[in-house]
């Protein structure tokens, strides 16, 4: 059956899934345009993974319906499976095999001939910086390597739609950037991506549209900028080389931008600022008056603030990123 709206890769209406007493997903609606990266953002236990598992045909919804690239996820599950690929939260690769064997296995299961599967595996291992580790068992891979292999396994044949469930959870910043680069490259090639994440900056960096999800419900939806705008305008943050110059900087900024907020850091101050042009003028004016600047940034309100404003509770503990570190890069 043709999709109701061919521009939509995913249309979900009222998806519900309960486990015992818990309603893990409690009426989720999603509309994801083809060719975009759509972020589903929420804390642990918000229902992100359950939603993705329903859309990837691994779980049958208790209520509601969804079409993925025009195919109903219940009635036409096999058709959905032939156009999507899934990168699960637990790395969806076989730890007891080598990286190369994993990719050949997937290639064969997708219908590639033996020689083609081998060649495709080699190509992907090269591209994802795994050529050297190709013959090692995956259980000996670092977290970042495992994730890259996981994504490679998802694109052995090119999917039209890719589900990425927390692709950078637990990765160090370097590995995270590698994964982000791969995701951007995939999007550039035209793959639609549904990205579940609990990291606000990840959604901000990659997604064109975001649904904020909490307790199994979508509580807000929009572009990253729209979500931020719903909380308030941005601010110019300036940090000075010499704290003694702060009164001078305060005078300049209050002339240029109006209100000035002095930060607890004696070298830092900020002013509400609607756009980049005004920020550039203000910074130039600071420089002309001899104020020396260590760094500055035009911060829109962070998605953390958005989340706090929407749900009344913070999205995550700030240390969560730092604790889970990769053992070896």
């Amino acid at each position: 059956m043709p999709p109701d709206d061919p521009a939509l890769a995913i249309e979900a209406t009222g998806l519900v899934k309960s486990f015992g007493e818990t309603r893990a997903v409690d009426g989720v609606d999603l509309a994801v345009r083809s060719g975009s990266v759509y972020g589903v953002l929420g804390p642990n236990g918000a229902g992100k993974t359950t939603t993705i598992r329903m859309l990837a045909t691994l779980l049958r919804p208790d209520a509601g319906s969804a079409r993925v690239l025009g195919h109903d996820i219940v009635d036409d599950a096999d058709a959905v499976r032939s156009v999507v690929s899934l990168t699960g939260q637990l790395a969806s690769v076989d730890e007891d095999l080598t990286g190369r064997e994993n990719l050949i296995l997937l290639g064969r299961l997708l219908g590639l001939k033996r020689a083609h599967a081998k060649q495709r595996a080699a190509e992907l291992l090269d591209a994802f910086g795994l050529a050297e580790a190709a013959g090692r068992l995956v259980k000996n891979y670092s977290g970042g390597m495992r994730r890259r292999l996981d994504i490679a396994a998802s694109i052995v044949v090119t999917p039209q739609l890719m589900f990425l469930d927390e692709p950078t959870t637990g990765l160090d910043p370097r590995s995270r950037n590698q994964v982000w680069d791969i995701i951007r490259a995939l999007v550039a090639e035209g793959t639609t991506i549904l990205l579940c994440t609990q990291y606000l900056d990840e959604a901000d960096q990659l997604a064109d549209g975001i649904a904020v999800i909490d307790h199994g419900r979508v509580i807000a939806e929009g572009t990253p900028s729209q979500l931020k705008a719903s909380v308030g305008s941005g601010a110019l943050h300036v940090r000075l080389l010499d704290p003694a110059q702060r009164p001078e900087a305060e005078r300049v900024l209050s002339n240029e931008l109006g209100a000035v907020h002095l930060e607890p850091d004696p070298a830092a101050l900020s002013s509400p600022c609607p756009d980049g042009d005004r920020a550039a003028e203000a910074v130039a004016e600071l420089a002309r008056s001899g104020v020396r600047i260590a760094n500055f940034s035009l911060g829109q309100p962070s998605l953390d603030e958005v989340f706090l404003a929407l749900t009344g509770h913070p999205a995550e503990e700030p240390e969560a990123n730092a604790i889970e570190e990769e053992q070896a890069a």
Partner: protein, 282 residues
Amino acid sequence: MSADPTTPPRAPVEDEAALRKALASTPRPPRPSAASAAFTFGWRGMLKVKHVPEQLLDVTITPVMFVLMFTYLFGGAIAGSTGEYLDYILPGILVMSVLFTTVYSGVALNTDLTKGVVDRFRSLPIWKPAPLVGSLLGDSVRYVIAGTVIIVLGVVLGFRPEAGVGGVVAALALVVVFAFGLSWVFTTLGLVLRSPNAVMNAGFMGIFPLTFLSNVFVDPETLPAGLKEFVDVNPISILATASRGLMEGTAEAGDIAVVLATAAVLTAVFAPLTTRLYRTRG
């Protein structure tokens, strides 16, 4: 937008050109046939054995122990001489060892389920039972190994079956086919129970008495009434009788038919059940 110096250093993936090439569209070929998908999963099972050959210990050492123990410990007492008992017990031990190994199919499946890779298998557009059929095909190779170890050891100890190599191969094939059917019971158990240990315990709780209450070890002539009737209709007895018959050249078509029919019924009932549970669990 940001000049924040704490942004981590860029670490792009090694090679831009290689990345672009890898991402360029690889069109999806026609889906593999059911057999091809199943054999690919069988290959996966073989690879695991290749990486951890120790896991063959349970299918090689245990049968050797059984053969030696039963032949020399009980042979004289039960059959009058170890040599005579060997002729009787060897096909029986073949049956027992291979059937015990089938429990591990359920244990292995249960272990597999705790891993993320199952999600990927389930999200592939392949013949639904392929992962299960494939891993049981891989396990069948283990059954053949266990059987071969027993037969070779038996020959070394003086076992000389009348029907020669052909008869022995036929007996082994019959046992493996029956084991394939029985494995589905344990894979179902592997999907219903929560932990690999529970599967192991429940599995042996079933297979152990069934094997001992058969004619694998002793001729049922001496058994009390009631027990004898049970032993006579126990499919494991019929399998052991058929295997002995094939090895001695005295097999009855009826026994072989019962064994094959039992394997077919077990598969027909438990294979679809396992497949359903595999898709819906979790």
